[in-house]
Symmetry: C2
């Protein structure tokens, strides 16, 4: 077994190896690699060359332990298949890309116990901040977040008491506004189609806001239909068919997301149902996908990437501090009437 510096493949490289290869102390190598403190140009290039030829990759674990600085931001969302969250994550990445912070994503599948677990796991890496979807968390999760001593930003939803900072929209209000627009357009027999998931608090709040605003007009939801799992587009079709068969006198269908709304739209168009004359339709989210449909579905933009960007900005501003300054940013979703709501 040769003792040649490059030959010993098994032992991972450390600062010491670079230090020996370049003839300076480990400390100097550390300084060069972090661009911190004064190092002469000559030493700097020598060290960098040595590091490069050896293929040295710094060990952030040791670095983080020594400096108690971790450049990670924990980002916790319920799902990736929802179309909504990838946009949020993209917004976050965009902002963090220009900083030394790095997002780390975790997925909870809408399960509180899974959220707790993922959160625990992430906090045990002592990140510089947490961005987490929703305001509803288990007691244990809330306590962990409070005790973490880092900026916490709860996103998506602003209807509730945040732990620290908060960026999102009011889903109650979104539901109310959609209801108002629908009633104002003259629709009266209104059906609701949504997800069965009792843990999707935002969908629930939209529904609550929706029924509340209808109630003010002396109306109530005439029929409803829920689904779970599977292709949302297909479910949208199926639910639309079954609700219209059951309640043929409905004149409006409000979908809890654009995907099932799109399915409903395709169903109606395919079956010669006059939209928005006989039946009006609306969804929620403003997903890009809708642009390609034969007719533009009425919807409400959920400000997804803006939420991501604003949340990330808060983390960046407060990194190193023990909280996010309790900043609250309430964005206003824009109603897009599209072609499926009479004007």
């Amino acid at each position: 077994m040769s003792k040649n510096a490059t030959a010993n493949v098994n032992r991972p490289l450390t600062l010491r190896d670079v230090s020996e290869a370049s003839g300076v102390s480990e400390m100097t190598v550390s300084r060069v690699l972090r661009n911190r403190g004064d190092v002469s140009e000559a030493t700097r290039t020598r060290v960098l060359n040595a590091a490069k030829t050896l293929g040295y990759v710094p060990n952030k674990i040791a670095g983080a332990l020594a400096s108690s600085r971790v450049n990670l931001v924990a980002v916790i969302v319920p799902s990736l298949s929802n179309l909504v969250f990838p946009d949020v994550l993209t917004g976050i990445s965009e902002v963090l890309e220009d900083t030394e912070l790095q997002p780390v994503f975790g997925v909870t599948n809408y399960k509180p116990e899974r959220e707790e677990q993922v959160l625990y796991e992430m906090l045990s890496w002592r990140p510089s901040g947490v961005i987490i979807a929703g305001l509803e968390h288990s007691d244990a999760a809330r306590n962990m977040l409070k005790a973490a001593g880092i900026p916490i930003v709860e996103i998506m939803d602003t209807d509730g008491e945040p732990i620290d900072a908060n960026v999102g929209i009011s889903h109650r209000r979104a539901g109310r506004e959609m209801a108002k627009a629908i009633v104002q357009a003259g629709y009266r027999k209104i059906g609701f189609l949504g997800t069965k998931m009792p843990l999707d608090h935002r969908a629930r709040k939209r529904f609550e806001g929706f029924t509340e605003a209808l109630a003010k007009e002396g109306l109530e939801v005439a029929d409803q239909e829920f689904y779970e799992g599977g292709s949302a587009l297909l479910k949208g079709r199926e639910m639309t068919e079954s609700i219209l068969k059951r309640s043929p006198d409905l004149d409006f269908l409000y979908y809890s997301n654009d995907m099932i709304g799109a399915g409903g739209l395709l169903y109606c168009l395919g079956n010669g149902i006059d939209v928005p004359g006989k039946v009006g339709l609306a969804g929620f989210n403003g997903v890009e996908l809708l642009d390609g449909l034969p007719r533009q579905l009425a919807t409400m933009d959920a400000c997804r990437s803006e939420i991501g960007r604003e949340a990330a900005k808060i983390i960046v501003e407060h990194a190193g501090s023990d909280n996010g300054g309790a900043k609250k940013i309430v964005l206003t979703p824009k109603l897009q009437l599209g072609d499926t709501l009479k004007r």
Copy 2:
């Protein structure tokens, strides 16, 4: 300022705090929290109680440094908006959920230099394994991966030389098979619609396989159209319109992904074009979304979640080892003729 154990909010908790609170050594606390070694039931509960009341969260940074064991798996994909990757990530999560390993996701936006950067960042946390999309990487990236001394699984694509393990499908073959099916169905004037992105190597390989198989039949692609950015569904519509206006004699359109294919399908149906009689259509990926369309688009399943699952399994099997055993798993995409390809 009280010296009360729970009062000092600022100093983060350590094993020492738990040890003092429960009257045993730090080592014993560590053993209890990791479920390792013999600890009496009495001590165990005492320690767990202390930890719980204090709200202690272990510091994995210190733990990882001391044990040189890190339960993270780096997962690097080009994009999250592609619909394909969330499925892969879900497959990975599914398998890792039952283990002590934890996935960490990174996104490269199809940029090699970004990939290099993300990889460097991730490797500096000394993960137990890497799952990375594609076989094409910069030299620096390849070297880092080779030198990392951990299992590496390159996923999605099997047309090339993997660094270590490899799970995916042959996109060349997928392209060829689709071409054969199209020609066999009697189509002769074939158009191709795809992404402009020169760095999407898998789309490129499908195209190459496709033209190659056509060539064997004495055919070539009669016209083509490329896009970039924006809503894929809408782009599919637009491209379809423009290619059919330019080359009205085309009798088949092959789309490089289902989303633009779906746009094309909607365009044809909306404009009374007989599908698959006058024009046949096919996409690629087998996305769930297609189930809800008025007609089932011909496509080829890319085995997305299975790829994720198999890759994760390899990591699990080889965690702790210095490589992934160079295992190669080539999955076979299933052709689904749907309703848009004559039989």
